[in-house]
């Protein structure tokens, strides 16, 4: 029997792979519900941003070339992250712009690469999910997804379809949380000042659940909220859309 579903190569992202595999499984479920056949190429590690943002172009290109080769066979490439998604979609083509062999391949890959939630809504036409999640949630717009990929309305539209969930917008949801990859450990005091500010606005929203589409930001904000003793739970938006209520929130354990 032939499978006429579009194939999606899931770019898991290094942080999801290491810290929160459940986000990867939630993404697989959502993609399958949206009629896709999901594959996970083994030859993936990271998109190369740590090298790219440290000025190390040679290593970035080597890693990017590996990603291009691993993901070329699929109809689409989807990442549960705006940051890694934008890296493949926008920055790979720019990296190889002067390379006659890799340039067109990077561009072709970029053209079919998407951040998870915007892929579900904009490409697969998903308008609602059939899950229940009681409570009040607030959504943080992670920078790369927002400004490089235009992810803003899509997650909110899907979250509005979640039964029992009330969206409570925080002030300044578009302001960076201070993660910034290696920034948060290179300039910890500045990063801390930024995430303190973010935690204030999250708590002021009155929501008991914080959502975002990028695990880096989520680890940063969850770490700060927990350190402050806040009761706000923190999750990747895909976990809610896939109804993973049994899963402990980020930074929590079963029973905590």
């Amino acid at each position: 029997m032939t499978d006429d579903r579009p194939s999606v190569g899931l770019f898991v992202t290094c942080l999801v792979d290491l810290f929160r595999p459940s986000v990867g499984f939630a993404a697989v479920e959502l993609l399958e519900q949206a009629g896709c056949r999901v594959e996970v190429p083994r030859a993936q590690t990271c998109c190369g941003q740590p090298a790219y943002n440290s000025g190390d172009r040679a290593d970035t290109k080597a890693i990017a070339e590996q990603v291009i080769a691993a993901f070329e066979p699929y109809d689409y490439v989807v990442a549960p992250s705006g940051s890694c998604g934008a890296m493949i979609k926008d920055h790979y083509p720019a990296l190889f712009a002067d390379d006659p062999a890799l340039g067109p391949r990077a561009q072709a890959l970029g053209d079919k690469t998407h951040e998870l939630i915007s892929f579900l809504t904009d490409v697969r036409g998903l308008e609602a999910v059939a899950v229940t999640w009681p409570g009040g949630a607030t959504y943080h717009d992670s920078c790369s997804g927002l400004r490089e990929l235009g992810v803003k309305a899509q997650p909110r539209r899907l979250l509005e379809s979640v039964a029992g969930l009330e969206l409570k917008e925080m002030a300044d949801s578009e302001v960076c949380c201070g993660f910034g990859g290696t920034f948060c450990v290179k300039y910890p005091e500045i990063s801390n000042s930024m995430v303190e500010q973010k935690a204030d606005t999250i708590e002021a929203s009155g929501a008991d659940l914080l959502l975002a589409g990028d695990l880096g930001c989520l680890l940063n904000m969850a770490g700060k909220l927990k350190r402050r003793g806040s009761g706000v739970q923190v999750r990747h938006v895909a976990e809610v859309l896939a109804g993973k209520r049994d899963l402990p929130a980020i930074g929590e354990s079963r029973g905590s």
């Binding site: 792979d17 594959e39 083994r42 302001v175 910890p188 350190r227």
Partner: protein, 480 residues
């Protein structure tokens, strides 16, 4: 000014712990941003104007030699005199010479970032000439002997009560019991003190927001009117400006003025927009007898055609810093040299060297908010990344960081090894982090000093996927 950009980390640490600065920066975070957003919303063609402005600047920079020469012709024809200055030193010397020839003892000054760049006040003082800043913010920081912390709001790092204390300390000639608690009272007092100085000054120095090649005019935009008094009352007017301030025509100027104030303060236009074209002509009611333009390169022409070319489009509105969460956290002084915020992180390394300013392009999360509001659409994050590349190429990146990166990259290029190691690592951390998070972790002090570290769930996604779906690269959905 003497740079402390190399000490950025220490500067920033002090800044984030300064409660007074935090209060002052709270106003930046709200005020400027809301005002710009409202001004933008009121002008349907705002985005189109940004594009038009960018094109004007791109065109001018592409033909800068032509427009500079044309500007010299029109300026000279209007009776002005142009002083080409390749370096800050040359500019200082040119200004001092003009002041000496005018027999100046007091010089009034409008706000000028180029004035800061060439440290003209220190130079005049060292040569027995008293510079008097007439912009309120500049006047305040001159009293405090501080550099500006913002390119359009130089005293934005201060709160009202600090300014009141400064005025009481410096204006001893005024009655002690006077009320100074309202901003209007502070403004009135500064006006009163400055009025006499305008009349005393033999020379007035202003900056220029634009220079118009078509007419030879210099243009300043201000809200206090101090610039007009500075350039009209003394016998001699000196404009200090850098080469990228040029625009071809008055039409072009019009486009740029329409985005400048909206991006800067959220005003449709600044209160005063003043064009000066040469000295006083016969029949003019006022104006200076002599008009000089000190035109500074100071490293800019070397940026033309480089990765940093587009930074020369900057019209100095300050929107990038107004919207920058790093700037909000640390204020402008921490950057350590003239231009703070995202534009400073791109310009300063070009003007004072990447060795001195290497922290600045690194101290960004690449959140992209600066680029999203820049009226000239300067790709600031991309340029900061280019500086990081220069730093890396020239082995200025710390050895520990380089080694870590090389090891990590070597691993990232070997998926099998990477997955074997991460599988062990995440499983181990997952077991140790039974509470779901760590309050401290070896080698992660930068993180755990301020926040908990969420623990990995356990096995990696790749290992779980391989178990669940069988073969590596397995397909979901089972049946084929």
């Amino acid at each position: 000014m003497r740079s402390t950009a190399h000490a950025f980390t220490e500067n920033a640490k002090r800044a984030v712990e300064d409660p007074q600065l935090k209060r002052a920066m709270g106003h930046v975070r709200k005020g400027f941003i809301e005002k710009r957003a409202k001004a933008r919303a009121r002008l349907p063609e705002f985005e189109a104007l940004r594009d038009a402005g960018r094109e004007i600047k791109d065109h001018t920079l592409a033909h800068l030699d032509f427009y500079l020469e044309h500007y010299e012709k029109t300026l000279t024809a209007a009776g002005g005199r142009l002083h080409w200055c390749a370096t800050a030193e040359e500019a200082r010397a040119a200004i001092l010479e003009i002041c000496r020839q005018a027999g100046a003892r007091t010089v009034t000054k409008g706000k000028s970032m180029i004035g800061e760049e060439i440290a003209i006040n220190d130079h005049l003082e060292a040569n027995g000439i008293t510079p008097v800043e007439t912009d309120l913010g500049e006047y305040i920081i001159q009293l405090r002997r501080e550099p500006p912390s913002h390119i359009i709001a130089p005293a934005v790092h201060l709160t009202k009560d600090l300014v009141e204390a400064d005025f009481r300390a410096h204006h001893k000639q005024l009655p002690e019991g006077r009320s100074l608690s309202e901003p209007a009272e502070l403004v009135a007092e500064a006006r009163q003190v400055l009025r006499q100085r305008y009349l005393e000054a033999e020379v007035g120095i202003t900056g220029a927001n634009f220079l118009v090649a078509e007419t030879g005019s210099s243009v300043i935009v201000t809200n206090e009117g101090n610039g007009d008094l500075t350039q009209c009352l003394p016998k001699v007017h000196i404009v200090v400006a850098s080469i990228e301030k040029l625009v071809p025509t008055l039409e072009d100027l019009n486009v740029l003025l329409r985005v400048l104030a909206r991006s800067a303060t959220g005003q449709e236009m600044s209160t005063y927009t003043t064009l000066s074209t040469g000295p006083r002509r016969p029949g003019d009611p006022d104006g200076p007898e002599a008009y000089h333009v000190v035109l500074l390169d100071n490293g800019r022409s070397a940026m033309i055609g480089s990765e940093f070319h587009e930074a020369l489009r900057c019209i100095r509105c300050g929107a990038c810093m107004n919207h920058c969460p790093v700037y909000h956290a640390i204020g402008g002084h921490a950057y350590g040299w003239v231009y703070p915020g995202p534009i400073g992180s791109v310009l300063n390394p070009g003007l004072i060297g990447i060795e001195e300013a290497h922290h600045l392009p690194n101290a960004s999360t690449f959140c992209g908010r600066c680029e999203s509001v820049c009226p000239m659409r300067i790709p600031l994050p991309r340029m900061m990344r280019h500086w990081r590349e220069k730093e890396f190429e020239r082995h200025l990146t710390p050895a520990s960081v380089r080694t870590g990166l090389t090891l990590w990259a070597a691993l990232a290029r070997r998926p099998r090894l990477y997955q074997a190691l991460t599988r062990i690592g995440s499983a181990l951390l997952g077991r140790l982090g039974k509470r779901g998070r760590f309050e401290s972790l070896p080698l992660a002090g930068g993180w755990t000093r301020f926040r908990d570290m969420p623990a990995p769930e356990g096995p990696t996604f790749q290992s779980l996927w391989a178990e669940q779906r069988g073969t590596p690269g397995g397909t979901s959905g089972g049946k084929r």
